[in-house]
Symmetry: C2
Subunit: 285 residues, 2 copies
């Protein structure tokens, strides 16, 4: 999907939120906004929203001289989710369809997003989704595909959230899944350091996608990653950023995400705040 005009105000808001992680100085914060007013008109509307956000956040970081504004919050959300992990594990183990429960928890974990959202309640999101259902639920198709798949690729999204991803992969019960994380820090997206911090590497083969961009921008990814991507029988893609860049790909992708903004909600045909487990295969409803 491509940038919509609604992404313009949003990109200023995202950049402001990211900037506040580096400074509270109002003059510097304004300077970042003014800088973006020069840059945003140069961005093509052929970009995905994730790409536009990436360029804006990078420009903000440059003005601020701040490379990884979310480092501390990422550590905190990894720790907070690890604290929650034993309870989540029990919920999965006591449920009638463990894998369905685990994928719901993985989707609810996607509420952890410091780029778009400014407040989030991960426990509330998990309760809501466990008591409710995906707005679009292609779980049966995913289950069948996973059962026969030889090569499974899992595209991680955020730090903290990857604890829920780890629980899903444990529940799936195979150790040959490849999990891709970001090469370098961007927003609160998970990197190799985060994967190791939560022990994701104990349940899967974690690789870097070779890119530090938001989402999965294949042209920016490493050749090694692209090979894995193209060869996968099933790809599970977490979060908005990945959806924005991969929604029109021909590979067999299941998008697991919360719709956090009106633009993506519209593209998915759901309401803002709703979670989906959506296959990109035309055969699925």
């Amino acid at each position: 999907m491509k940038v919509e005009v609604d992404c313009i105000p949003c990109v200023f808001k995202q950049a402001l939120s990211a900037s506040r992680r580096c400074t509270n100085d109002v003059y510097t914060l304004r300077r970042v906004q003014y800088e973006l007013m020069k840059l945003v008109p140069q961005y093509s509307f052929e970009l995905t929203p994730a790409e536009m956000s990436y360029y804006a956040v990078k420009a903000a970081n440059e003005v601020l001289g701040c490379e990884d504004p979310f480092a501390e919050e990422k550590r905190q959300s990894n720790v907070a989710m690890l604290d929650l992990y034993p309870r989540l594990k029990k919920i999965v183990e006591s449920s009638s369809d463990r894998l369905h429960t685990a994928v719901k928890i993985a989707a609810a974990g996607n509420v952890i997003d410091m780029g778009i959202l400014h407040r989030f309640d991960v426990r509330g999101a998990i309760d809501d989704l466990l008591n409710g259902s995906f707005r679009i639920d292609h779980y049966e198709s995913l289950r069948r595909d996973l059962a026969s798949a030889e090569r499974i690729l899992y595209l991680a999204d955020n730090a903290g959230e990857i604890v829920a991803d780890k629980l899903f992969l444990e529940t799936l019960g195979r150790k040959d899944v490849v999990v891709a994380v970001k090469e370098s820090p961007i927003l609160n997206d998970a990197t190799m350091e985060d994967a190791r911090a939560v022990g994701l590497d104990e349940v899967a083969a974690v690789i870097s996608n070779g890119s530090g961009m938001i989402g999965t921008i294949l042209d920016d990814c490493s050749e090694e990653f692209r090979d894995v991507f193209h060869a996968a029988d099933v790809i599970i893609s977490k979060g908005q950023g990945n959806y924005e860049g991969l929604d029109e790909r021909p590979e067999n992708i299941y998008f697991v995400l919360k719709a956090k903004c009106p633009v993506v909600a519209r593209a998915l045909g759901v309401e803002e705040g709703e979670a989906v487990l959506k296959s990109n295969a035309k055969g699925n409803r």
Copy 2:
């Protein structure tokens, strides 16, 4: 109060929302946003948020060649609130403190705002406030001041909302209150045409403030209005725009509003979405 850096992304969003009332053409909508990127850096941070919004919305209307984008929605909200009026009237009449109930309904009516909010539920807001309370409630002080006041000025905010204002003024039971509306259309703010459409002129002396700006920017108001303003014993001021420009005035003002954005909520010391009936007198808590 003055513009904060958070007002920048918000002003792009407000202008987009207003622009959509005139056109769905994405190229035109982008053009408005690009135009604002040239203009916003020229706006002084000594402005109130309402003034900045005004300049941005006016600039957007100019690009669009569209003078009154909210005309139809204003008519609709007047009609919708008039439909609701008999029920609201009964609620007031059956309550133990009619004036307190009426001012709560007037505050809840302030949820009708097409500038900042994009969805609102006026019935829900009324129920919430009737079942709950103002976050800051200087009602006792207002009641005493109104009892002894000779000259009362009421600064209206939005179309539709003025039906709830009318109910409050009926409940107050005196016909000498002066209600000020906007001289010309801006967002969904009430003008003389709206006041007449809902019969506000039957319960009070409705005047124009002589200005078409958001809020009450005294320097832009007519001399006639300024005379009324300075001579008033009590001023009841509806909505954010008025609060933003008048919060530091020495007159005896009671602000009745819902805090619709984080900047105003912070200034009031309340949470976003909460309603207040706040005196600007230092003696009040």
